[in-house]
Amino acid sequence: MPRWHLLRVLLLTTVASSTLAGCNVARLTINTPLTPQHVAFITEGRTTLADVVTVLGAPDSMAEAEAGTTVIYRFLNAKYSRVNFGWLAKPWSPVDPDLIMSRSGFGADAYELICDSNWVIIHQAFVRHRPEPLFTPYPF
């Protein structure tokens, strides 16, 4: 490979990196976020709690309900992104300038089941079923 080509690759990579100046991308997940596909096997009036536990694991909480027992699976999918455009001016500025844009999105949700006295699922639903949050630092 000619030397100038290597330099060009390095230059392009550096320029590309510079456009990402001061970027932070972070994500927090608590338990496995459930989707309708994950719970498609559950049939009200037929599936038992034991079947659900075999596939999804133990729930996060259980509580007494009028019809039997409420079982809740909670999960969180949070995303955070931040860009500091002040980094672009750092090499030429005597001060440390900041121009920060950031945004976070919390995809907090829960999946609730109601079991009868025989541990058969009689109702099931997502609490919020929020859309998947995006990595988008633009806050406006």
């Binding site: 290597l6 690759v9 994500r27 133990a58 729930p59 996060d60 990595f135």
Partner: protein, 126 residues
């Protein structure tokens, strides 16, 4: 191949630091302790002797529900000079033991999700 090598070299040159952190909440729920609880046989006192006091006690249609849990959090960060990637993964182990009115275990619900928990820094994808 050389381009890949050059890009790898740039990545290494811009690599500022890596960070790994971990946090846990609660005692480990041992599989043998969970398996030792037999429905209709194990008594309330034996459950308490084996697992200790539960983290929560709930009333479920006149029966006691003992809840034990443990949380494990793993944080991985790749800190480059210009861009940082971080990911926090939290999973829980949960055990529910339903004690009937006769004082024996009626139902045992347990799962250990933390065993497959890994350190990850890449925030994209699943």
């Amino acid at each position: 191949m050389r381009v890949t090598g050059a890009l790898l070299a740039v990545l290494i040159l811009t690599l500022n630091a890596c960070a790994f952190s971990r946090g846990t909440l609660g005692d480990e729920l041992k599989t043998e302790s969970i398996n030792s609880i037999k429905k209709g046989v194990t008594t309330r006192a034996e459950v308490l002797a084996q697992l200790g006091a539960p983290d929560r006690i709930l009333q479920l249609n006149g029966r006691d529900l003992f809840q034990y849990y443990r949380y494990d959090a793993k944080v991985g960060s790749l800190l480059l000079i210009l861009v940082n990637f971080s990911r926090v993964s939290v999973k829980s182990d949960d055990l529910f033991v339903l004690i009937n009115r006769e004082g024996t275990a009626e139902e045992v619900i347990a799962s250990k999700r933390t065993e497959g928990l890994e350190f990850r820094f890449w925030p994209f994808g699943d």
